[in-house]
């Protein structure tokens, strides 16, 4: 009976793995084949494997530039988000002050606006401040759009840290600033990791703001770069797949690095 249960479980897990990993494996195979080979047979294995396509994409098709731009914009945005978000969340969760909940509500309520509503005004603002078509402008926009969700996730976690810990640290002689860095933030690391992964993946794949706010080739991010290979009448499917693989790798690395913390953040809850 136990063996049967195990077999059923294994079967279900295998099916789920195939469902989840299938598209990834397929894209990986496509990335090693030329567009001509792909048109001949969509599902054939990469034989021979064209590893040189990665070098070609990176150097000839400008993916190197896109990748660097994406990395600069997203890493800075995620760093800023983590720093500002965790400070704001700590403050909202920890201190009782007038309009605390009002501020929290106003911050959080901004997520109800679809991006299409705000994008034209954002465009205007960036043009006025000379930030249009710049990586700094896009970074700031990314921070602004992701901040409410970041604060929402972190605030609920910070609020669960018992206030006795802060009191103990105060008696131990630490200032509010030190308590944030040495007590709150380390305890909230699982939740911080959750927001890092979420923000990284969402921003790494972000397209709408990037396509409106960046037009210069030198400042394009990866999703815009990949889009360049989609023409009106024909698509370079092989190169798109290679670009996709280049784009996916950092996400996988970030996830692998933070996933244990992410799981802790989702399951832990209790601060012993």
């Amino acid at each position: 009976m136990a063996a049967l249960k195990r077999a059923v479980l294994l079967l279900l897990l295998s099916l789920y793995t195939a469902f989840a990993a299938g598209p990834f494996v397929w894209a990986a195979m496509l990335s090693l084949r030329t567009t001509t080979e792909i048109h001949r047979n969509h599902f054939a294995p990469p034989n021979p494997a064209h590893w040189d396509k990665f070098a070609e994409a990176w150097f000839t098709s400008n993916y190197g530039v896109y990748f660097t731009n994406s990395t600069q914009v997203v890493v800075s945005a995620v760093l800023l988000l983590t720093l500002v978000g965790s400070m704001a969340a700590h403050c909202l969760a920890r201190y009782r002050f007038r309009f605390n909940r009002v501020i929290y509500f106003v911050l959080f309520s901004t997520i109800i606006f679809p991006p299409q509503i705000t994008i034209i005004s954002l465009f205007q603002i960036l043009v006025q401040y000379g930030l249009y078509n710049s990586k700094l402008g896009l970074t700031l926009v990314y921070v602004a759009i992701q901040l409410p969700l970041t604060i929402y996730i972190l605030e609920s976690f910070f609020a669960r840290i018992p206030s006795d810990l802060f009191d103990a640290a105060r008696i131990d002689g630490y200032s509010d600033w030190e308590i944030f860095w040495r007590v709150s933030l380390p305890i909230a690391l699982p939740a911080v990791a959750t927001t890092v992964i979420l923000n990284f993946i969402l921003l790494w794949n972000e397209f709408l703001y990037a396509v409106v706010l960046i037009t210069e080739e030198a400042n394009r991010t990866l999703p815009l770069g990949i889009q360049r290979f989609i023409g009106d009448t024909q698509e370079d499917v092989g190169m798109i797949a290679t670009g996709l693989m280049i784009a996916i790798i950092p996400v996988v690395v970030v996830y692998a690095f933070f996933s244990e913390r992410l799981i802790q953040g989702m399951t832990a809850g209790a601060v012993k």
């Binding site: 640290a169 105060r170 002689g173």
Partner: protein, 375 residues
């Protein structure tokens, strides 16, 4: 060691018109173990937090060793506090938890290491120094919390119900450890609890609080034997003191009290202030009531007829609940194991006249005239 003086310490919170602590005045002496005892919401924790510097003081004065510290930050008061939840930093090892407070006080690393090792040795934590709090049992966490306070060598120790998260047997042994610790360190300690057993066993003096106010302060036995009002009388003791409605049967001078149909003559005391017919409350502890009385002992006892309504045999003793005709509340007696009584039986119960307390209509103790024998 230090003297902690509270003068009319009051705390108002934004959310309520009534003070959480209402003009609390108390002096804790050098090296004294003072217990703040009271039911939930009586203001004892608020008072402790004001002493710690974790709550602002609405009015009144708090001084440590004669220096007013109302506006001195918690870190500069030289106090240590043990919290109910232990408040161990979950991301730090036991060693780091112990050293965290010292690192802030510009003590060199070697000295910190030496102090941490010494405290760990005293509390049996040496083998646990590299563990994180989640890998410790409740008792071990409690010891780390104690260690964190001791390692700082503060002027004053504050304890906020530190035993309430422990199971019964661990509570008894930790109680003993805290008591030993006090004897060894000789430090001033202020301990908050709602558990009267902890208060009676640990405290050199007990400060009983109710509704934000100090109700009575004194050594445990004095507070137990001579409660100043019905609140203290009913709060201390398990089962608590019997409080029965009674009337003064005669006028001034030697007093008789009518309890139900019985007339009790309080021969040894004089209460010149009590008018005849006044409604009073008669208090007597369960252990001051006997099921049997030898002929010789009856001189200082008064027998009352009562119907036994419940018998709880606890092995070493028996708790009897009885009803005196004409009185609604039950009379509870703590008697010997071999009482030989049965439920429904009417029998005499013997009240020790010297252990009777009288309270007026407001619940305050009526004191006997000066010169008369005390209760």
């Amino acid at each position: 060691m230090a003297v902690v003086t509270l003068e009319k310490l009051t705390k108002f919170y934004d959310r309520g018109p009534l003070p959480a602590a209402d003009a609390v005045s108390l002096e804790v002496q050098h090296g004294e173990f003072m217990v703040l005892l009271g039911p939930s919401g009586c203001g004892k924790t608020t008072t402790l937090r004001m002493i710690a510097g974790l709550e602002s003081i609405s009015s009144g004065t708090l001084s440590i060793d004669g220096r007013v510290v109302n506006h001195v930050p918690a870190k500069d008061r030289d106090i240590a506090m043990v919290f109910q939840s232990y408040a161990l930093y979950p991301h730090m090892s036991v060693a780091d938890n112990l050293a965290f407070g010292l690192r802030r006080r510009s003590i060199d690393r070697a000295e910190i290491g030496r102090r941490v090792a010494a405290v760990a040795d005293t509390l049996g934590l040496t083998g646990l120094l590299q563990r994180k709090p989640h890998a410790l049992s409740g008792g071990q966490r409690q010891r780390v919390a104690l260690g964190r306070a001791i390692v700082r060598d503060p002027k004053v120790f504050l304890f906020d119900e530190p035993l309430s998260n422990l199971d019964a047997s661990l509570r008894v042994s930790t109680r003993g450890e805290i008591s030993k610790l006090h004897r060894r360190l000789g430090a001033t300690m202020i301990y908050v609890t709602h558990d009267q057993v902890e208060a009676m066993t640990l405290g050199q003096r007990i400060c009983i609080m109710n509704g934000g106010r100090v109700v009575q302060v004194g050594p445990p036995l004095e507070v137990y034997k001579r409660p100043l009002n019905t609140f203290v009388a009913s709060f201390l003791g398990n089962p608590p003191m019997n409080l029965l409605p009674a009337r003064v049967a005669e006028g001034k001078g030697r007093l008789s009290v009518k309890l139900g149909g019985e007339l009790l003559e309080l021969k040894q005391r004089q209460y010149s202030a009590l008018p005849a017919g006044a409604a009073i409350t008669l208090g007597i502890r369960p252990e001051s009531i006997a099921a049997h009385a030898s002929a010789g002992a009856r001189e200082r006892l008064a027998g009352v007829e009562a119907e036994i309504v419940q018998i709880e045999s606890l092995g070493a003793e028996t708790i009897l609940a009885a009803r005196i005709p004409g009185i609604e509340s039950e009379l509870v007696a703590r008697v010997g194991p071999e009482v030989g009584a049965s439920v429904g039986e009417r029998r005499s119960l013997w009240l020790d006249l010297s252990a009777i307390h009288l309270f007026d209509a407001t619940g305050a103790l009526i004191t006997a005239d000066v010169g008369a024998s005390p209760a």
